[in-house]
C-alpha cells in the first residue's frame, strides 16, 4: 500500500518531479510538498472551491484530483497568477471593493474568476454568479466579489475593444 508514483509536472512554469503516494490530492501536493500554501484545502470533497487551481489552463478542484494523475500536466496556482501579474487588475478590484473578509475563499475566487475574465462581451452579473456557484464565501461577501469581477471583466473587454479600434 505504500506505493510511490513518480510524477513530473510543471507548476507555475517550473518543472518539478516528485514521488507521490497515490492518495495524495493535488491540493496537498501543492501545499505540503511544494509549500505553495496560497490555495486552500477547505471541505475536501469538492463543494467549497477554496482549492481551485488551473490544470492545463482549466479550473479544477485540487481536492478532487490526484497528484499521481498529473504526470506531464501544467498546473498554475494563485501564486503563479499573482507573481506573473496576470491578475493584478483583479487583485486591485478585490482590494478596492473590499471583496474579502477572512480571505479563506479568496484564492479560489481569484482562480475561478480567471476562467471568465477573457470573455467578449464581458460576463454579466448573472453569468458571474452562475460561474461562482461552486465557490463558497462563508463571510457571505458575494456582492463585493461579484462587483470586483464584473468591474475587471468590463475593463478588460473595453481595453480589448479599444485596442481593436486602434488596429
Amino acid at each position: 500500500m505504500n506505493q510511490l508514483i513518480n510524477v513530473t509536472l510543471k507548476v507555475n512554469g517550473t518543472e518539478v518531479s516528485r514521488p507521490v503516494e497515490p492518495r495524495t490530492h493535488l491540493i496537498d501536493f501543492l501545499r505540503n510538498e511544494l509549500a505553495l500554501t496560497g490555495s486552500h484545502a477547505g471541505c475536501e470533497h469538492g463543494v467549497c472551491g477554496a482549492c481551485t487551481v488551473l490544470v492545463d489552463g482549466e479550473i479544477v478542484r485540487g481536492c478532487l484530483t490526484l497528484a499521481c494523475q498529473l504526470d506531464g500536466a501544467d498546473v498554475v496556482t494563485v501564486e503563479g497568477l499573482t507573481e506573473s501579474g496576470a491578475i493584478a487588475d483583479l487583485q486591485t478590484a478585490f482590494h478596492l471593493r473590499n471583496a474579502l473578509q477572512c480571505g479563506y475563499c479568496t484564492p479560489g475566487m481569484l482562480v475561478a474568476a480567471t476562467a471568465i475574465l477573457g470573455q467578449q462581451p464581458p460576463a454579466t452579473r448573472e453569468e458571474i454568479r452562475e460561474h461562482l456557484s461552486g465557490n463558497y464565501c462563508r463571510c457571505t461577501g458575494y456582492e463585493a466579489i461579484v462587483d470586483a469581477i464584473e468591474e475587471t471583466a468590463k475593463a478588460r473587454a473595453a481595453g480589448r475593444a479599444l485596442a481593436q479600434e486602434g488596429a
Binding site: M1, R23, H25, H45, E58, I59, C63, L64, A112, A115
Partner: protein
Amino acid sequence: MKAPPFAYRRASSVADACALLDAHGGSARILAGGQSLIPSLNLRLSQPELLIDISQLAELRGIRVSATEMIIGALTRHADIERSAEVRARFPALADAARQIAHPAIRNRGTIGGSIALADPAAEWPAAALAFDMRFTAVSTQGERSIAATEFFKGLYETALLPGEVLRSIHVPLPAAAQRAAFGELTRRSGDYAIAGAFVTASVTGGWLGGTRAAFFGVATRPLLAARAMRALDGSAGDAAAVAAARAHLEADLDPIADLYNSRATKLHLAGVLLARLVARLAAPGG
C-alpha cells in the same frame, strides 16, 4: 478528510484496463474523471485496494456522428459536451443539461461515462440516456457488447455492467425531424444535485405528441421512464387535460425517497410541475 491508502495503476489502453480489472477482481475500481469517486474516497465511503486510471486514454474521448447516431466516448467530459457545437445543434436539451451538472471546475474533469457507470439516481446523464433511448458499449477481456439504457440501470448505484467490464462509448440515435426534447431540473442552489429533474422527448406532428418518453431523476433509487404518464401524453396535444392525466400517473410511475429537505409528497409534486413545464415547451408552436 483524506482518502484511505490505495494502489494505483495507469492503464495504457482499454485492453490493459480490462486485463487489470480481471487480475484484481472486485477490489479494483476504474478512475475516470474522479469527480464522484474521489469525494467518496475522501469521505471514506469506499475503500478500493486499487484504482485503475483510464483518464489519459485518448481513444475513449471525443464526439463523432455517424449516419444514424452520435457516438460519445466514455471519457468525454461534461465541459466538452457543454461546448460541443455538434451537441448544441442536434441535441440542445443535452447541451442544456451539461450546463446544470455541478460547477465549471467539476465539469472540466467529470465524464459522461463515469456518470453513467456510477448511476447516481440524481444525476442528469442516466435519465438522459433513457429519454433519448441511448445504448452503451461495454468492453472486457471477453469482447464487447451493446447494452440498451433501458436495460442498464438496475437499482441504487447498480448497473448491468459485469465485473471486468469497462464502459467505452455512449450511442445516441439521431433524432427524426419531428423529434423535440426538453430538459429541466429543480435545485435548491445552482449546481446542487436535483430535487427532481426530467427529460421529455416526443415527435410532434401537427401539434400531436407521439412516441413520448419522459425520464425522471432524483425521484427513485434509479432513473425511471414514467411509462403510464408517457402513454397518457401520446396522441394528445400536450394540453392541460392531457398533462393533468399524465401527472396523475406519476405516483405509480415514480418512487421518490424523502431527503433532508423534501418529503416524498413534495418530490412527487415537483416532478409533476416539471412534467407540465416540459410538455408545454414541447407542445409550443415552434418549440
